[in-house]
Symmetry: C2
Subunit: 225 residues, 2 copies
Amino acid sequence: MNIAVLGTGAVGQALAGRLSGLGHTVAVGTRDPEATLARTELDGMGNPPFAAWLGDHAAVRLTTFAEAAAEAELVVLSGSGSAALDMLTAAGAQHLAGKPVLDISNPLDFSAGFPPSLFVKDTDSLAERIQAAFPEARIVKSLNTLTAQLMVEPDLLGGPTTVFVSGDDADAKATVTDLLTSFGHQDVIDLGGIETARGTEMFLPLWLRTMGALGTGLFNIKVVR
Amino acid sequence: MNIAVLGTGAVGQALAGRLSGLGHTVAVGTRDPEATLARTELDGMGNPPFAAWLGDHAAVRLTTFAEAAAEAELVVLSGSGSAALDMLTAAGAQHLAGKPVLDISNPLDFSAGFPPSLFVKDTDSLAERIQAAFPEARIVKSLNTLTAQLMVEPDLLGGPTTVFVSGDDADAKATVTDLLTSFGHQDVIDLGGIETARGTEMFLPLWLRTMGALGTGLFNIKVVR
């Protein structure tokens, strides 16, 4: 499949690398490819600059948000929550129309430090705002409940765990669920319409505090029933 | 141990029954014991009236909030979130001072129907409000992330799962953790201070939607790491 991954951070790298490794044609979208490639410092999370990553992933192409989205059959939104709407606007509504958009973003507000609060919650969600802003795109919220590495390599944990999908379009959810299965996810719970993303976005405060208690982000929840 | 269980609903019954079965001396507190015993209709969740439950649990005593708390070494707050502060006020700050208070309540707001929203969240929590209102009590938030039956009988599920504790007093958390272990919980994660209850309280929206997707509340999460 032709896939656009919007965002060059840890989540974008994890998704792009894994999707490319599985044989998909992957274009990573960024605001300004030259500026992205010119960066030589570590990012805020201590990861190497994108150019170094790209050197190890020759099959992946770096381009603009708009060009990546234009050619894609599926779009992955892997930027920060605060940038999500701007990134999709730069990608272009006409390039998103009719396509499944896997939304991994979380509405984290770091303005008061760590742990962050959520800038939308409870009676609304970032996923709903995105769906409302791009009504012709078929938004599927998923993978926002675990760390980047485990999104694409859940087998790194000692046993199977659970991920969730939320969205209004059944076909788009099926496409995303197939991708998740190809990553190794064995338990994908379909929560329902896009408004159920309120649940997974509001899980972040517990995720963050569990990370604090365990001293690692390498964990995920399993829904045992 | 002498334990007061404040609240006569499904959570109060589950806790009181299990604690009594484990050999603790249990008093269930309610606003007006005569009124509670006079009720003959099913409750809002379809459970039998409290008097029927009490008939099957002869070792459990029903009394007022204040009398139950006065004699207790540990207090369990098992009422609805909206009633929590009033129930503790009726129990009496002087009867809570110095004691571990296991707070199971969730700040659910059903005023706009189902699913409920949260009446406090993100930058505050019900547990913090309770601790602030009763500064001499040693509040421990726990068990608010799973259904009543599984709080006290986690072995009903196919494998071990996780529960969390949040609180400012290490001794009170140790006392509560011992109780949880006696119920069968094998994985108790100490999230930290009382403000970490924001995490478990904000898990409710995901819990509710997972219940909707699975068609049952008989599930719990396991933190796999």
